[in-house]
């Protein structure tokens, strides 16, 4: 029986070992598949979100990045933008999206549509270069409130 099960497991399923390249405070913080595990794939991995690091990492923990001048004490906002830089950029350029509306909510923006449109037309000022930080992004966005 054990042999059979091992056989089942050997039929190319994937171990969900992900590298979270969430080291910087800028763009490029996508979760990516770990190269080393792409060949051997395993049961239960994807089914059950198995991973090595499991903690009580509740949202709005403290961040390691520089704080913006505005919203300095808004931990939720700072942490969220820091960890969703790519998603926020996408939403701003497209003029809509859940990451963007969450940021608007956290900044207490009333008119979401006008706000989104303004950000879209100023995308190049907000995400000005490849090394832009989350703090700079928040400060830029704050100008268009």
């Amino acid at each position: 029986m054990k042999k059979i099960i091992s056989l089942i497991a050997a039929i190319g399923l994937t171990t969900a070992v992900y590298a979270n390249e969430n080291t910087g405070c800028g763009l490029g913080s996508l979760i990516i598949k770990d190269q080393s595990s792409s060949v051997l794939q395993a049961l239960a991995a994807t089914t059950n979100g198995t991973s090595g690091n499991q903690t009580f990492g509740i949202t709005s923990g403290t961040s390691n990045c520089n704080k913006p001048s505005d919203f300095v004490s808004n931990d939720k906002l700072n942490k969220f933008v820091e960890e969703n830089m790519d998603e926020l950029a996408l939403d701003i350029s497209a003029g809509k999206g859940e990451t963007l509306s969450t940021v608007a909510k956290l900044m207490n923006v009333e008119n979401n549509e006008a706000f989104s449109a303004k950000l879209q037309s100023n995308f190049t000022n907000i995400y000005s270069n490849e090394n832009v930080t989350s703090a700079a992004v928040i400060d830029s966005i704050a100008k268009y409130m």
Binding site: I5, L30, I31, K33, T46, T55, I58, S93, T124, E130
Partner: protein, 603 residues
């Protein structure tokens, strides 16, 4: 005041206690009064106390010692209760801050307890409660992931949020096996046989969205639960109690979905959920079980990034002529394209670039550069990207995971089959991922005319993953079939059939071409074949599924086999269907034709 009232009632009811109270005076209860009260009310037999400790069949399913105060806590509810109270009174073991829901429940049920325990500040707990700020609870179901059969059952976890407007920053409560193993074999073995520690964890919901929607390309269904404030509070407190504990993880039963149900049972004590699962806990079943309690308020669909890309590709772009060169060769946007198409081209390429990065096909630096360039270009069109991606059929309306079928065929024989899970090519696909078929332990018995009933087939595992290819995504379709089989009504063999191939199609229908090999083995005889099959399946019509397949296999011993099969399944309701099959097989007889008709019930 309430406390006082309780005490009064208590005096009225308990004359024995009254006597004791006279002896010791009412302002000075000793701990033995509490013991007497607990004993008289048999509080340790209260079912909720058993739930708080995850008891089932006389012992707790939690396997770490730190979940119990008593050394015998895993199997002795009474000792556990008395030692818990004792610790509270002495201020030991940090029971007050470690097990806030137990303490709360004990205080509610033992009127005099509040005044007898040593109180102090629980800063970690308070911080946890204020950060999590839970008001709403949602059951979250990431659906199956095509081509990864381990995920074909899906997964469930809970989301607790403080506002419905900011779902992304809410918290996910997840239960999973803890491991660092990357070897698939070790992984599977340990997962099946309880050698991993299953632990609860909390993480931001947006991280789960990234994991499922963006990395694994799985759609997510969210089911908002109708829990009141008090119930949500209990759930949150109990989750805290579990934070340092573990239970042995079993892939089939005591898995993610099963352990999530414990949290709901504790939130609302009239729920009877975990006891319904004896051999297997299929995530989908663990959601449907909430239906009779009217616990599900609303269903929401959150599509994967892949769905968005396919939607743009299949439904939005009118002129695809320049798409491939734009995406793969970095050509500029062709000026002849309409504005809508230009935007769709850009939106597609942006998502595709993220997909490439997620799969490690492109370096971080290069990705950021390209990504930013594309977004800048996109932002110059002051048009909002608003993709209306239609939700597929709600998994709540799918058939249940186990099936019993009864077939009659034109050669005057009967078949009875029974399988515990899950969904095969003949089953109605509503609510399941199309093209992903997985069956375990499928038993098929056959009674032929003038013969005794016998085992026709026992499928240990059968997977078929038909993942359609398109311009950009080129997955390999594949299948595996392991069974003990009475081969073509001749003789019993052990069977292995691996196959691989390609599929093309849409969300409604698809064709596939597979190449495979049959290996039939028994001590005295072995049969091998090489062959291929070509098939078509459609879910285009409501309540009717149609499919056909032609296969050719060339065996050793000079055998050749052409087989043609046509089937149709008609959905009677979510859990019942009729299937009609026409089979033409020429292995031992030219044009051996059969018509089979069967009825299936799912449970």
């Amino acid at each position: 005041m309430i406390q006082l009232l309780n005490i009064c009632n208590f005096f009225n009811r308990k004359s024995k206690y009254l006597l004791l109270a006279f002896l010791f005076s009412s302002s000075c209860y000793s701990s033995s009064d509490i013991s007497l009260y607990v004993e008289q009310n048999k509080l340790y037999e209260n079912p909720y106390w058993a739930k708080l400790l995850h008891y089932r069949d006389g012992s707790s399913e939690i396997d770490s010692d730190n979940f119990f105060i008593s050394k015998e806590g895993k199997t002795n509810l009474k000792k556990e209760l008395f030692e818990t109270i004792d610790s509270l009174q002495k201020g030991q073991n940090n029971v007050l801050c470690r097990f806030p829901l137990r303490v709360k429940w004990l205080k509610q049920n033992i009127p005099t307890l509040e005044n007898k325990i040593i109180n102090y500040e629980c800063s970690e707990l308070n911080e946890y409660l204020s950060l999590i700020d839970a008001k709403y609870v949602t059951m979250v179901f990431p659906t199956a992931h095509i081509n990864s059969p381990a995920s074909m059952y899906g997964h469930t976890f809970l989301r607790v949020s403080s506002s419905n407007d900011t779902a992304l920053i809410s918290n996910a409560i997840n239960y999973a096996a803890k491991t660092n193993d990357t070897n698939g074999l070790i992984f599977a073995y340990k997962g099946l046989f309880g050698e991993y520690e299953g632990r609860y964890s909390i993480l931001p919901y947006y991280e789960k969205i990234k994991e499922y929607n963006n990395l694994e390309q799985r759609d997510i269904w969210e089911y908002d639960l109708d829990l009141n404030e008090e119930e949500v509070n209990r759930l949150v407190l109990h989750t805290f109690e579990l934070k340092d504990s573990y239970s042995d993880y079993y892939f089939f039963k005591e898995n993610c979905s099963y352990n999530i149900l414990w949290l709901l049972e504790i939130a609302r004590d009239d729920l009877d959920l975990v006891s319904k699962f004896t051999f297997k806990t299929v995530p989908l079943d663990s959601i449907k079980i909430l239906k009779p309690y009217n616990l599900i308020k609303e269903s929401k669909y959150r599509h994967s990034s892949m769905k968005k890309m396919k939607h743009i590709l299949e439904d939005k772009i009118e002129n695809k002529e320049f798409l491939e060169s734009f995406v793969n060769e970095n050509k500029n946007l062709n000026e002849n394209l309409s504005v809508d198409d230009k935007i769709s081209y850009l939106d597609f390429k942006i998502s595709y670039l993220q997909y490439q990065r997620a799969n490690n096909k492109i370096e971080k630096k290069e990705y950021i550069k390209k990504y930013l360039e594309l977004l800048k270009q996109r932002s110059t069109y002051s048009v909002v990207s608003d993709y209306e991606i239609k939700a597929p059929i709600n998994p709540l309306d799918s058939h249940d995971s186990a099936r019993i079928s009864f077939y009659y065929d034109s050669s005057d024989s009967f078949e009875l089959s029974l399988k515990p899970v899950y969904n095969d090519i003949y089953d109605i696909s509503d609510g399941y991922l199309q093209g992903a078929y997985i069956n375990f332990f499928d038993l098929n018995l056959k009674k032929q005319k003038d013969e005794n009933i016998k085992l026709d087939r026992f499928t240990i595992l059968k997977i078929k993953s038909l993942a359609p290819r398109d311009m950009f995504f080129k997955p390999i379709s594949w299948g595996i079939d392991l069974a003990y089989e009475h081969f073509k009504d001749q003789s019993d063999y052990f069977k292995i059939k691996p196959e691989a191939g390609i599929s093309y199609g849409t969300s409604k229908d698809f064709i596939y071409l597979m190449f495979g090999s049959n290996v039939y083995y028994k001590q005295s005889d072995q049969l091998f074949s090489l062959g291929s099959s070509l098939g078509f399946v459609t879910n285009r019509f409501d309540n009717i599924k149609l499919g056909l397949e032609y296969s050719y296999d060339k065996y050793n011993k000079g055998l050749e086999n052409n087989q043609f099969e046509l089937f149709s399944t008609y959905k009677l309701d979510a859990n019942a269907s009729l299937t009609l099959k026409y089979i033409n097989d020429d292995l031992y007889k030219q044009n051996d034709e059969k018509v089979k008709v069967g009825i299936s019930y799912y449970f």
